[in-house]
Amino acid sequence: MDIYKELNGILAIWYREIKVFLREKSRIVASIVNPILWLLVFGGGLGSSVSIPGVNYQSFIFPGILTQAVLFSSVFFGVYIVWDRKIDFLKEVLVAPISRTSIFMGKIIGGATDSMVQSIILLLIGLLLSRVGLISGLNITAFSLFAALIILFLSTCAFVSVGLIIGSQMESPEGFQLISSFLIFPLFFLSGALFPINNLPAWLTPLTLADPLTYSVDALRSVLLNVSHFRFIFDVGVLAGFTVLVIIIGTYAFKKMKV
């Protein structure tokens, strides 16, 4: 295999995803506005009557909202492969002399770039909100921001893969929407994005522990709030393991993908 050729292929796919992302301004705006609504309206409303020992509720859910934003935009990125299939653009890419693994990698990097742009903007907004005193208790330093971005990057790579796995099997955007909603909402609600996971009812705990998003949320809390349920290194380990696993599955799904 010619490495240089494959890298060029990955770059080509990435180039296209970035161009499309930058042209669809509404996508960027929507991906920023929704999390802010969650944070301010949901967080502010519920936070006025719910208290979590040691942290302000809005600060507490800030890592959860970041993860949610990444989860949604990453998984939904998979729908673009369904659109590519609806026209014959997917075939144009598949007949190019590059491997399907490279096509998959290019797609992941493309989707991850979208999510990272979104994450950076949201982190900056978080920084701004805590400066003006709307939310308090965030531990925002150069290091914590950097660590948060690494965690978000791992998460987006994992969930873009999940989205692409679904997309590689679906023929209609509606079908994709249906399947991904069934997946996204349980992942989000079970992750402890909106509540602490140390005092849950017995039936809920195993479900929470099985949700990979739990570890992403927990790791983010440990860098941005200095509170966490598990040890940071354990969170990152589980997250990285999950990311590798879905990338392997995704590569396989792309190899077997029908046109």
Binding site: A12, R16, I87, D88, F89, E92, P97, V259
Partner: protein, 322 residues
């Protein structure tokens, strides 16, 4: 040397045979047509020849390379214009071409040079920075044709290249295809179900039905099989017995009150035919077309079900098998 050669090429989808032991040979520099009704196996054949779909059995060599074992070599030898739009309409024409050049690993200088060349070839130079969204169907097809040529392929595949285009755009596309074949010596494979298109463009063609080739030759030779000119006569009570006795009538078919005759030197013999056949409502005399060839091979020009089949169709087929 044959630029494309298949041997018993076969594709099965869950028990449905889309392409059945196809043996095809295309010479270098030819414009070769694959004709057939929808679902005859044209597209599947194309997908196999372009390495997108793996054959169930049989072999195919494209530009001397095996489609299963040397897909990268095959891919570099071919350019394709797909049936549905395959350019990204949120990008400009230039960006679509740049993307193509990157996918084919062209160095920047070469890429820019080729982009310029193909834009000129398909007359889109002054629109190169417009979003493809703003293009008409014909312009978009031209862009995709240009893109398919950008990496200088030896063979170009055109899947229904003029489907849904207006007459002017069709003429345009034909013009480019002929230019390619003459000036660049590129071999062209076209699938179409427009008979006039096949007649005008192709040096040779194969009619496929139900995954098999039923006839293969030049358009002229295929039309000769008809045995002469075609006379269609609308008549209520034809005297076919008397017609059968005329030795210049090569073939008689009757359908929906219309009698079709294949006749040698029809101009000369028309009067004689009208004398014996009875009370005629109307008469049409014309040279044979590929449509007649199609009908001769009992290939229905339109069939809606695709051989690939959706899941609902598979269930129906499964149940009817039981």
């Amino acid at each position: 040397m044959a630029i494309i050669e298949t041997e018993d090429l076969t594709k099965e989808y869950d028990g449905l045979i889309a392409v059945n032991k196809l043996n095809l040979k295309v010479e270098e520099g030819e414009i070769f047509g694959l004709l057939g009704p929808n679902g005859a196996g044209k597209s599947t054949t194309l997908l196999m020849l372009t390495t997108i779909v793996r054959p169930t059995s049989g072999t195919a060599r494209v530009n001397g390379f095996d489609v299963v074992h040397q897909p990268d070599h095959v891919r570099r030898s071919i350019g394709i214009v797909f049936q549905d739009p395959s350019s990204d309409d949120t990008l400009t024409a230039y960006e679509n071409l740049k993307l193509h050049g990157m996918l084919y690993n062209m160095p920047k200088d070469l890429r820019e040079k080729r982009i310029k060349e193909v834009l000129e070839l398909v007359d889109l130079t002054d629109r190169k920075d417009d979003l493809v969204k703003q293009y008409s169907g014909g312009m978009r097809r031209r862009l995709e044709l240009g893109r398919g040529l950008m990496h200088h392929p030896k063979i170009v595949f055109l899947d229904e290249p003029t489907l849904g285009l207006d007459p002017q755009s069709r003429e345009n596309i034909w013009h480019y295809v002929e230019k390619l074949s003459k000036e660049e010596r590129i071999s062209v494979i076209i699938t179409t179900h427009y008979m006039d298109e096949a007649d005008k463009l192709c040096n040779r063609l194969a009619i496929i039905d139900k995954g098999r080739i039923v006839a293969s030759d030049s358009p002229e030779m295929l039309k000769k099989v008809i045995g002469g000119d075609v006379i269609n006569i609308k008549i209520k009570y034809p005297d076919l017995e008397k017609i059968k006795k005329l030795d210049f009538v090569k073939k008689i078919t009757e359908k929906n009150g219309i009698v079709s005759l294949a006749v040698t030197d029809a101009n000369k013999h028309l009067a004689q035919i009208l004398q014996v056949i009875g009370n005629v409502d109307s008469v049409e005399l014309r040279s044979p077309t590929l449509d007649d060839v199609f009908l001769l091979w009992k290939v229905s020009p339109q069939r809606d079900e695709s051989a690939e089949g959706g899941w609902a169709e598979k269930i129906v087929n499964y149940r009817s098998k039981k």
